[in-house]
Symmetry: C2
Subunit: 342 residues, 2 copies
């Protein structure tokens, strides 16, 4: 079936071949390649032709050696791989970042470094110049990797608010206000005994969403007893267990604010198992507006995180840093999405 011998790469054409073919100098070819400034229309056309005829592709190693740039960026996850696979938000974020960078012709490498050993390798890899910058995603912050990268002079943009000291470039949704919107909605529904399943206390989402919940209850003059609060781990199972504990302690609950859609699905299972109807007996609000929200039965009322804009802003901040400027932070608004569960 194979018609021709596969074209084993012989000597690949270089800029020199193109120059000879086009009848110009290598300098001119290079200038054409790098934006075409100071190249006459005639030369440009000749070079263009020559590139096509020779099948020339730039040797990125040679280019990188001079420019000190690799021309690519990393999407780094400093969590165990499972996390990544389970959470639908990562999916959306990764796709968004890939597309935003593609518009600048910068490929995005996905790197996962959950273990210490992987993180050591990663650091070596990045600092040895394979990548110009890093988009870092990890829910648990105070992440040592972030610090180490920044210390090594690598441009880094975080997804989510950093919890440690020091200012790091980051993009995040307004967690606290999102929580406020949701709990306010539950209150307006007439609910009075509103529990919450939070994220881990060492994550910004865990802290901020709980704070927003408390603010609204206080403002509404509703009880915010500690036994209305349970901690989850952003996993579906964790949400189910947390909701079950809550329900055992407070069978009189009439609403539940769950700090992620995935956990909310778990909570739904716990409620169903306990014979509660949603939303009639217990109204349930999630957070994220991820794929999990619409896959759920009933569909989840939730808080939309603007993932598209988050990824766009992350890329923008990274590019800014690459061009040598200092960057700061961007906080994006969240929005209540009403569906069936509350």
């Amino acid at each position: 079936m194979t018609m021709s011998v596969p074209a084993r790469r012989r000597r690949a054409p270089t800029i020199h071949d193109v120059a000879r073919e086009a009848g110009v100098s290598r300098g001119t070819v290079s200038r054409f390649l790098n934006g075409g400034h100071h190249v006459s229309a005639v030369s440009a056309r000749a070079v263009e032709e020559a590139i096509r005829r020779t099948g020339y592709v730039v040797n990125r190693h040679a280019r990188s050696l001079i420019t000190g740039r690799s021309g690519s960026a990393a999407f780094l996850l400093t969590e165990p791989q499972e996390k990544f696979f389970e959470d639908p938000n990562f999916n959306v974020l990764l796709r968004g970042c890939t597309q935003a960078l593609a518009a600048h012709d910068i490929p995005l490498l996905l790197m996962i470094a959950g273990t210490r050993e992987e993180q050591r390798r990663l650091l070596r890899y990045v600092t040895s110049g394979h990548v110009d910058g890093v988009l870092l995603v990890s829910s648990h912050t105070g992440d040592p990797v972030a610090e180490q990268l920044v210390d090594a002079g690598v441009p880094v943009v975080l997804c989510g608010k950093p919890m440690g000291p020091g200012r790091m470039a980051h993009v995040a949704a307004d967690d606290r206000d999102g929580a406020r919107q949701m709990v306010r909605h539950l209150v307006e529904l007439g609910r009075r005994r509103i529990g919450t399943v939070t994220g881990p206390p060492d994550t910004p989402g865990g802290v901020e969403r709980l704070a927003g919940y408390r603010e609204v209850l206080a403002a509404a003059g509703l009880p915010a007893d500690d036994d209305l609060v349970e901690t989850g781990d952003y996993s579906r199972e964790g949400g189910e267990r947390a909701a079950a504990r809550l329900l055992a302690r407070r069978p009189d609950l009439d609403a539940l604010f769950v700090a992620s859609d995935l956990m909310a699905r778990g909570a739904l299972a716990a409620l169903t198992a306990a014979g509660r109807r949603v939303p009639q007996d217990v109204a349930v609000g999630g957070f994220d507006d991820s794929a999990a929200a619409v896959a759920s039965r009933p569909e989840l009322t939730t808080i939309r995180q603007p993932w598209d804009r988050i990824s766009q802003e992350m890329v923008r901040l990274l590019l800014t840093q690459l061009s040598g400027e200092d960057t700061s932070a961007v906080i994006l608004p969240t929005e209540l999405v009403r569906r069936a569960s509350a």
Copy 2:
């Protein structure tokens, strides 16, 4: 909190600095770096010291420019991202390959190219030398990307048997024999009306596992009517729908061989919804022995794919190709794992 000004990268130390510091030539330093052959113990020690003192790290762009090697490999997925996230097998495979390559100090880049546009970019990226070889995963074969990479002279190893013509290096589990083992098991359980949910007909698993099923039924003298066969798409939902159709058509089914664990979980849901008990009324066998198998209720009897060995072999074949040798294929045995569902 920050004690010192972050060490902004000034001029990084080069091999030249190390040579001067160690009192040897750059050639000697380079030889030390590349295996230490033809370097006296004394020189070696001096270089070692100098490297530590200067904090030297090799500039990989310069090295790559000469060797023509990037020193890294890609784990490429030519499917929509969702696929990747849903299927627990990918997770295991990715981790296995990463570790096997790490032992050779080769970082693995995860690249996802589901759309045509992404595949174009990818091809440019890989052929421009960013990566020395590709581990390619895609269930639907006859994948044009694989052919294109091979044509461009890029070392490629496939996971799974290629369906197209031409010989491509690949590693796969023995799908057909796995199916035989499972169906034989169902027959030995005394089941006589055994249905199957297959994978897509354009995937090797879809074809081979169905073939194994048919072989055993024929050998056992059992009916293998077409109405006992439904096609799934390897997703949980697909499995659920397929099983429901099967059940509607053949309410007398007493066993079901489902070509993936994920689909088997869907099938379980369909059976439960139809009021069937598993395994009493209908015995269910899966395929993969993925995380889904033990997460399921009841736990799935299934066919174990040796993912660890598969990833090890994929890496071995890739390294072989990188060293210039031709490679062929490796087929690994599968194994029946008995749990509760059959």
